[in-house]
């Protein structure tokens, strides 16, 4: 799993944001789609709006694009309030999930559509369409019709059409969702290349955490109409702020427990299931507070019982299952009646037969304590 390229420019927080969303609320009938969302997209960055379906991310994108109207709050694009502007008067363009190419127009007419509306001279239209098709690496397909394109090609044409008007901000609504995995991975890198080449700010909606981690400078994680956490990909992965973030981004073992003791820097937590004790950085928890212990599978080590390795946390268990994933092995270790830990090991690690007693160990520093909000304990 990669991280962003770190081109984050947040050193001027008072500067003009490419997109500034302030306290946006939106209700559909009795459902609350957005509940006071505020965020900033810095100019020239790639920001992902990440979350499960129904979390409000697409609604927020549609409000920024002008296809829906917020019940409360404001949207500014490069310092200009756009709340009352129709989509055709907003300085943003959108790439839609299902491409939305005009089926009765040629590829040239599709891409040149915004230019034709502005009555740009024909020669300039031709030059700019050719330039855009070069950018998306589909040169020379001007005369074709949308029906003749594959899904990947159609999405590149849609991208070219959205970019030809040189918007400063591009909105992308799960543009790769309809493509197969291999094409999707290639297109992720393509999108990032194009974004860096043009310096356009991208706001990218996705439900795929890996996609968000691969492409973004900044991830805004949403859940049930609110922002659950935002930060760089490394921040949200390494330091999830809550159980939801921990479970949604990457994989995590989430173990409910009660804080047995804390000295302010480290805490000891008794796991609810199995009663084992775990040491972790205190992260502001108090004694007797219910918490959830979060550990990434790649931080766990599995060894035969009693093998010394200097890790603070060691829990005896039994290997129950092993899944081979090619580059890694995923192993399941039962450490309590209903508690199974997922660990990740290299394929070269010493194989341990199923059912063997083992010891799971990990360092206290790699353990994260999260307040137990009574949320789901999946993971």
């Amino acid at each position: 799993m990669g991280t962003g390229t770190g081109r984050v420019t947040r050193d001027d927080p008072a500067g003009e944001a490419a997109i500034a969303v302030e306290g946006v609320c939106k209700r559909f009938g009795t459902t609350t789609a957005l509940d006071g969302v505020s965020l900033r997209v810095e100019p020239g960055t790639f920001v992902s709006l990440l979350g499960p379906s129904g979390c409000g991310k697409t609604t927020l994108l549609r409000i920024i694009g002008g296809f829906e109207h917020a019940d409360a709050g404001s949207i500014s694009i490069h310092g200009v309030r756009v709340d009352r502007l129709p989509p055709n008067r907003r300085p943003v363009n959108t790439v839609f999930q299902r491409y939305a190419l005009f089926p009765h127009k040629s590829i040239f007419e599709n891409i040149a559509f915004p230019l034709a509306l502005q009555r740009v001279p024909r020669a300039e239209q031709r030059a700019r369409v050719a330039e855009m098709l070069d950018l998306v690496r589909l040169p020379g397909i001007e005369a074709r019709s949308p029906a003749q394109l594959s899904g990947g090609q159609a999405q590149r044409v849609a991208l070219a059409r959205a970019l030809i008007g040189r918007p400063r901000v591009l909105l992308l609504d799960e543009p790769l969702a309809a493509l197969d995995l291999k094409l999707r991975k290639a297109m992720q890198l393509e999108l990032r290349r194009i974004q860096e080449e043009l310096g356009t700010s991208f706001l990218y909606v996705t439900h795929d955490q890996e996609e968000a981690l691969t492409m973004s400078d900044w991830i805004v994680l949403m859940s049930e109409g609110r922002i659950a956490q935002q930060g760089t990909p490394a921040e949200v992965y390494e330091r999830p702020a809550n159980v939801f973030a921990s479970g949604f981004i990457g994989e995590a073992n989430l173990l409910p427990g009660i804080v047995a003791a804390t000295d302010g820097t480290t805490a000891r937590v008794r796991l609810a299931d199995g009663g084992a004790e775990v040491t972790a950085p205190a992260n502001g928890v108090r004694s007797d507070q219910p918490v959830v212990v979060s550990v990434r599978p790649e931080r766990l080590r599995i060894g035969r019982a009693g093998s010394a390795n200097g890790a603070e946390n060691r829990i005896p268990g039994r290997l129950t299952r092993r899944v081979f994933l090619g580059n890694i092995r995923r192993e399941f270790v039962a450490i309590g009646p209903d508690l199974v830990l997922v660990a990740q090991r290299g394929v070269d690690a010493e194989p341990i037969p199923n059912g063997e007693p083992v010891e799971v160990s990990w360092q206290a520093a790699n353990t994260i304590l999260l307040p137990d909000e009574g949320a789901s304990h999946g993971g």
Binding site: F67, R98, F102, A158, G165
Partner: protein
């Protein structure tokens, strides 16, 4: 196995039904080209004399032109109003629109005799003298649902994000309608218009009640039939038949089955 036999019975039944349905049509068409001056066998040879005679009849020509006028005016009116209504129906959801939609489609299931009488007494009530224009109103009333339903079905199948993309790329609502929606809806609209023309061209009952002295082709034929059968009636009926069939077949090329199956 009785399979083969029941098969035969089945085909005989189909054949008999088709014969029963289409034989009279074929007879009219055939006799319109018959040289003999009575509508009976034997066939006396091919001739266009009944067509010549029809077109030589001033009242027939007036009636034909009236029919064409009605068809054109009704087609234009229902195309504009029907498309607008379909657009509203497919874009907004509200109880009022659902009610409106039921009202628009109601004339489709009302008996034309009832509509004809109702319209005539309505016109009389408000002091409107029946003429060709009042017949046009009657035709528009019944044919509007065809346009609304067919165009609405097409709009429903249209991906909304295509329109949103047009708006997003700088088109005003009107530009998005004219440059994107209308061309995509055009085949369905054209099909609907052809169905309207086909319907209007052979409509008798409503026209009979509401056109006053201005006879259309079917009304003229009805008038002639009351004075006994002149073979030139066959020629006139054939003109109506061929127009209607041509419009309907052409409409089928523009509208997919899904849109008619509403």
């Amino acid at each position: 196995m009785t399979g083969g036999r029941s098969h035969l019975v089945w085909w005989l039944l189909v054949g008999a039904t088709l014969l029963f349905l289409f034989a009279p049509v074929a007879v009219v068409l055939l006799f319109s080209f018959n040289a003999a001056s009575t509508t009976s066998l034997p066939f006396a040879g091919f001739s266009l004399r009944w067509y010549e005679r029809a077109f030589g009849d001033h009242q027939f020509v007036v009636a034909l032109l009236n029919s064409v006028k009605v068809a054109i005016v009704v087609a234009i009116f229902t195309a504009v109003v029907g498309t607008s209504a379909a657009f509203a129906l497919s874009r907004r959801r509200s109880r009022w629109l659902d009610l409106f939609s039921s009202f628009v489609t109601a004339p489709l299931i009302l008996p034309t005799l009832f509509l004809g009488i109702a319209l005539l007494s309505f016109y009389t009530q408000i002091g409107l003298r029946p003429w060709l224009g009042t017949a046009m109103i009657g035709h528009a009333l019944v044919t509007l649902p065809f346009v609304v339903l067919i165009v609405n079905a097409r709009l429903m199948r249209l991906d909304r994000s295509i329109e949103e993309a047009a708006r997003d790329l700088g088109a005003t609502p009107f530009q998005s309608f004219r440059l994107i929606v209308l061309p995509l809806v055009a085949p369905a609209l054209l099909g609907a218009i052809l169905i309207v023309v086909a319907w209007s061209f052979d409509e008798l009952v409503i026209t009979f009640f509401t056109s006053g002295g201005d006879a259309t082709l079917p009304v003229r034929i009805w008038g002639m039939l009351r004075r006994g059968i002149d073979p030139s009636v066959n020629a006139m009926a054939s003109i109506i038949l061929l127009t209607t069939i041509a419009c309907t077949l052409l409409a089928g090329r523009f509208i997919s089955g899904r849109e008619i199956a509403r």
